[in-house]
Amino acid sequence: MEIGEARQDGMLVLRPVGRIDNLTSAAFQDRLLVAARAGAADVVVDFTAVEYISSAGLRALMAASKLKPKERRIGVAALNSIVAEIFAISRFSEVIPVFESVAAAVAAGASAAHQLAEAAPMRVHFWGSRGSLPAPLGAAAVRGKVRDALLAARKRELATAEAIDAFIDRELPFTLRGTFGGNTACVEIAAGGDEYVLCDLGTGVREFGRKLVAEYGSDRKHCFNVFLSHLHWDHVMGFPFFPPAYIQGNLIRIHGCHRSLRDALRRQHQEPGFPVDFDTLGATIEFVELVPGRTHQVAGLSVLPIQQFHGGDSYGYRFSRGDKSIVYSTDCEHKYSVLDESYPFVHFYRNADLLIFDAMYSLADTVSVKEDWGHSSNIVAVELAQAAQVKRLVLFHHEPAYDDRMIEAVYGETLRFEEISRDGHKVEVIAAFDGLDLTV
């Protein structure tokens, strides 16, 4: 049977023509299931051009609504008097949602999807949390961890694999059982939509891309929205190794406030630095220049950029949806004399649920050797988070010269400082590591 197809405000509209009866119901059911399974959209069947439906057609609708993926909805709209009569006889409006018109279905779908999306938690995944340069774990560091773990395990009953796992998980400190990781900045914000949102394209993006291709293969096409804090090497160097960039049909939108976004990305694909020219990449790559201080709507999020203090400028982003906010603010050397609303970042970070903050150095480093290097300290991080009443503060952009112990020491110092300087409002402090997953 002839079944037209159209997209309307994020919904897939199917328009069967003629009779949905014993002769056409199998094709109708297949088409409905393909639509519900393949796409990422809810499906509404527009009955405007349907003459009538028999029990075979109803069974097809019932089967399709049972077999469809749970997260997809199928509805019907614009029933003529005969179809409406058959639906009433069979009490089918209890099986499948019935709408006056396609427009009514779209409106209902949009409001339900909106409510669902507003209520659903956002997930933040750290694919890379190191600053300046990748910092792989070396042999000496691994040996040190193994040695310390064995020392800690002495005189313990660790006869079974389960006992060993329990010992690792519950008794070994993070620096022995894991590592903060060495990939440079890349943070994913999963807001529940179909499009991906990434902050920066450091070497962490390679892991993200590999996982995606492993999970979905190269047939499934994706849309990525990247927000670049700035164009320094460590924040873009992962892109040439991002597998989805090589797959035709993928769409990558690179957002940022720098005029030279496109040039910076193209340049690292040029000989003699890299053999694959930017123009030969399979994915469609678009550049979107954002304006600081102006709110932009991307992938269901409101995104507000702010200019920061960093050589060549950098930008922070506040991502909001409903009453939740996540701030990504890296590569900024904060300088203030008084911490109140007059300091723009207190306002920008105000009441954020999560603040991802460049706390590259310990305070001792900041006030001595690394002043004016364009980064901030763990102490500044806490002061700002307290002044802005931030709920959770993530220490990010770890110094590549710091080993796991050193980062752990800075983290411990930060926890103590937060406690002694606390004035009523508690800020939960977290140290980012590659693989950290947070829910907001």
């Binding site: 009538y52 028999s54 029990s55 058959i86 006889i89 069979s90």
Partner: protein, 140 residues
Amino acid sequence: MNAALRLCGVEAELPRLMEFAEKFAGRCGLPGSERARLLIILEELFTNALHYGYPHGAAQAQIKVALTAQPGRIEIDFSDDGRPFDPLAQSSPQLDQAPADRPEGGLGLHILRSLVDEASYRRTGGRNHLTLIRNLLGSG
């Protein structure tokens, strides 16, 4: 006005049945909605007979349909040589069950019974005979 048709017991006969009913509706000047109801009734009758009447295959089945237009109503006589089966005696499907638990069978018979105003069944000469009356609505 009347018309009659003989059918074999294969689904491929359905388009012929539909065509026959459409012609009849056209000749009687039935409104579109009554034509649609007639087509639905005949489809449900035919697929139901094939489904319930011939457990060992319906290919050799001999099915007869006769339509008679009377003032304000249509009489449908439907007969098959399948095993004895009274569609009017079947209980209605439980439509008050949750959608996921609804049985798939019985829906066609339920629609059929709902669309006709009078119905009678008899078994004679090794055949199932159904006589159905649908009172035509004034317009639609």
